[in-house]
């Protein structure tokens, strides 16, 4: 690797440095826009005691759900985790901890983590269990709570196209949490559908500038659909 060339050719290189008890921030919404190969590599590595920050925890047997099978996740920070029987079981057993965070607050916490903002005020969650134990305060007569930023040892991200410098574009709603996750990792790894030549992406159309990205790997994706609904019905 020289200069700004961030392409790695093995998943072992892509996730090199991941250790027990680290925090991983993962892009994706449900099964849409998830770094499938990077998740598979974390499973292969068998790393334990992970804190995983992601809007959801996949489903049984796919997405982040596979990391539950060998009890690799110690704590999940998510807004919604209701798609997963194994998750439920480990939660009830006390083998897994969950920190439920409103979806918008979660996205903003990741952005703040990447942007050097240690904390921000939001109305979301005031007066609810989410606000308990958090500082609250009024601005212009309205109540807000203080929420702190999230950063991770690793961020794992799924993009559509990236150039060798790590400039990324996302496709349709597979963007979701990926751009924020990309900014918030000490080491940010992007798994992409297509690696393109430097200069091929229009500068003002790049969703994630390469400065946030440490490693890029060519992936292949199953792209499982969670709820197939067509104009003919479910």
């Amino acid at each position: 690797m020289a200069g700004f060339d961030k392409v790695v050719t093995s998943y072992a290189d892509a996730m090199h440095g991941l250790e027990d008890n680290m925090t991983i921030i993962a892009g994706g919404f449900g099964l849409c826009g998830i770094p499938e190969g990077l998740i598979a590599e974390v499973k292969r590595m068998g790393t334990k005691g992970l804190t995983v920050v992601s809007n959801n925890c996949g489903v049984d047997g796919f997405g982040l759900g596979v990391l539950l099978e060998d009890k690799q996740i110690k704590k999940m920070v998510s807004s919604y985790v209701g798609e997963n029987a194994l998750f439920e079981k480990q939660l009830l057993n006390g083998e897994l901890e969950v920190e439920l965070t409103p979806q918008g607050t979660l996205a903003e916490k990741m952005r703040a983590g990447g942007a050097g903002i240690p904390a921000f005020y939001t109305a979301t969650g005031f007066g609810t269990p989410v606000g308990e134990g958090k500082e609250s305060r009024q601005f212009n007569g309205r109540d807000y709570i203080l929420e702190e930023a999230i950063t991770g040892d690793f961020a794992i991200v799924k993009a559509w196209k990236a150039d060798r410098y790590g400039n990324c574009m996302y496709r349709h709603t597979a963007m979701n949490f990926n751009p924020m996750a990309a900014t918030a990792g000490k080491i940010t790894v992007v798994e992409v559908e297509e690696i393109v030549e430097v200069g091929e992406l229009e500068p003002s159309q790049i969703h994630t500038p390469g400065i946030y990205v440490d490693r890029v790997i060519q992936g292949s994706f199953e792209k499982r659909i969670e709820r197939l609904v067509t104009s003919k019905g479910v």
Partner: protein, 219 residues
Amino acid sequence: MALSRDQIAMRVAQEFKDGNYVNLGIGIPTLAANYVPKHIQVMLQSENGLLGMGPYPTEEQVDADMINAGKETVTAAAGASIFNSAESFAMIRGGHVDFTVLGAFEVDVSGSIASWMIPGKLIKGMGGAMDLVAGAKNIIVTMTHADKHGNSKLLSACTLPLTGVSCITRIITDLAVLEVKDKAFHLRERAPGVSIEEIIEKTAGKLVIDGDIPEMTIT
């Protein structure tokens, strides 16, 4: 007669004005999209990052990368925009979405809402609901007036953990349209054939009935 789910959705759709940006929750709220009056245009926001949600795709159009907040495959309408989750909630929390419609377990006379968690049952999470109730300019709660056992969902004070505090101003149930203000539910309309007495009976929180209460027009 109590309204059906589709009839509640029809009544909800009457609230929309031409040019409104609307976020519809899962369930009855989503059905409202089917009943938007023909002469107006609304744009649907899906909090996973899509403004201008179109109809469900044909089999040929299905794309795993194009889903809505309910994780269903969808399409983008002409004039749609797609953005990241922080931007999506900036839009919601910044008050740019005109209407949010969502379901609830309970609403109380101060406009607080409980919709995401029943202690003792498995907790699935609040998703974007807390952000939506904190951010939208107008929130409409749709729900049945009472639960299966006949217990009112319109209370003096919510008993379940809250989703948001003092944020609900309008409720559309299978029995009535109510406004929430001055620490009371104000009855505005009743479902066709539903008596004032039934509504009184099924409303546990303070109910104000001012003058004649018209029947809803469901079309």
